[in-house]
Symmetry: C2
Subunit: 308 residues, 2 copies
């Protein structure tokens, strides 16, 4: 604005009033076009009806806004074409950066589309070429399994996600390490939770085979297992201990009371958005950076001493 003495204060305020009244707003599109940079972030997130993603999305949006960035969201929903469409749109919009909250369904395509073109950060998931912000998933797996072992459980099953991503693998590795150390036999169950009734049969099988505890790769799955156990009349935690991973808001409800490994979602979002913004501003250059955020064991009612 030209604040010279050229115009009287009156004229100036009249102009300002007019701007207010007419609701004039500078055109961001034009500015961004000429400046060759935007303040838009593209966020790829698994379905928002999964509370973990919803909670992450919320934190990311808040954090981005705090940095002056606007967020465009896409529920990938495991739908590869939709994901590619969104990714291409982000490029067309010349987003300043991209945030993956869940693994791309077509990692190679995603990579060739965006690598070296727009800064990208992977939160809660893995990548060979972009910055990664993750919890210490192996440590979490260790803590979860150790918790169960220290409660006297000997037959502990690990329930893995059908989407076998890095987080899942690391948690499983933590599990396997503790089991080996304790000279216990590992038992990994991969279940497809999409199909109805699968939880029931899987839990029932697992218990029939003698398991007294289950470590599930995420809370949302754990809650389904608890639901199944309830239906089957299997008492939790008396007959079966269940521990999850994530610490969703709903996991803390009295009726759910899920013991779990907490992922600090706000912290993850903060680190991820900061990392992305640093890349965008060019304050960080060079090879991919990895950020690891610590996890925490939250003990609630779904785990108890093994009887006998």
């Amino acid at each position: 604005m030209h604040r010279s003495g050229r115009f009287t204060a009156e004229t100036e305020s009249q102009v300002l009033d007019a701007i207010q009244k007419l609701g004039f707003r500078p055109n961001v599109l034009a500015r961004q076009l000429v400046q060759q940079r935007t303040t838009t972030l593209g966020v790829m997130v698994g379905a928002l009806d999964n509370p973990f993603y919803a909670e992450m999305a919320m934190q990311i949006e808040r954090e981005s806004a705090a940095h002056g960035f606007h967020t465009m969201f896409c529920n990938t929903y495991g739908d590869a074409p939709a994901e590619i469409w969104a990714l291409e749109s982000y490029l067309d919009y010349r987003v300043a950066g991209i945030l993956f909250v869940s693994n791309p369904s077509e990692p190679k395509r995603a990579r060739q589309l965006i690598e070296r073109r727009v800064p990208t950060v992977f939160v809660t998931c893995e990548s060979e070429w972009g910055d990664v912000v993750r919890c210490d998933d192996e440590e979490g797996g260790l803590m979860a399994t150790q918790h169960l072992v220290s409660l006297g459980h000997r037959r502990i099953a690990y329930f893995s996600d059908p989407i076998d991503d890095a987080a899942n693998q690391d948690r499983q590795r933590g599990y396997a390490k503790v089991m080996r150390k304790a000279a216990l036999q590992s038992s990994v169950v991969r279940w497809d939770r999409k199909s109805a009734g699968v939880a029931d049969t899987t839990v029932s099988e697992t218990v029939r085979h003698g398991a007294t505890a289950i470590f599930t790769t995420d809370d949302y799955g754990a809650i389904e297992l608890v639901d199944a156990a309830d239906r089957l009349g299997i008492n939790i935690p008396r007959q079966l201990s269940v521990i999850g991973f994530d610490d969703l808001i709903m996991s803390g409800l009295g009726r759910i009371g899920l013991t779990t490994i907490r992922q600090p979602k706000m912290r993850l979002a903060q680190v991820a958005v900061s990392a992305l913004v640093d890349r965008i501003k060019g304050q960080v250059k060079g090879p991919p950076v990895r950020h690891v955020v610590p996890v925490e064991l939250i003990v609630r009612g779904s785990t108890a001493k093994a009887n006998g």
Copy 2:
């Protein structure tokens, strides 16, 4: 594309290859600038860590994508300045339309900012000047209360949200109508769920005053009440029936088992996005339109016959 015989097929495919290889993508900003229209939608949504908003956000994003529109989200979080910032940003971005999923915290400011400038649809909330897509909230209130009355309850309390929006009022009106008709005394409790321990004292008070049933204005609140009742040792539904509103995914969990009035979230999103797109394309003109979507009673375990 110029598909004349001017160039050989070979040349053409070479060019196309180059486009692919270099990852050329047309600049949406430039196109939108010259076309004077965008395919971006701005969505104002209460905090995404509230499952109702998360579920709505997901449906809206999916539906928008199906119409070829991109969504920018803002968690209002009841934070008026953040909301205004987002709204102004949407205008700066020249969004094609705006969707309110929760009431603006500053309705007047919001109105003067966007009215007659960009098409706006209010889903699940109310407006005097924009299109509205809502459930039949009064009918829902009627159904919920009728359900409790028909179970033999005489002292039924209505738990209202501190944010006394139109949806809340309509549900309350439905409640009041049924109570009057049944010659029962209404009892409306307004509680501020933000403060800790409030649920406990409020529930305890309500039961002490003789209530055997509570109708809460939303499931998320109802679940908190159930949690409180559990802590207080009040058995649900034996001593206290609880019915909510929304039908969140988590309300259907065995351990929650909340009787509720379902808002069809997918349908709401479809109608809302269609209405908005119609306005954007100019296929609908003139005064605000109201769309009403029917609700449905879902009976689960949190309500039962009144004893005595």
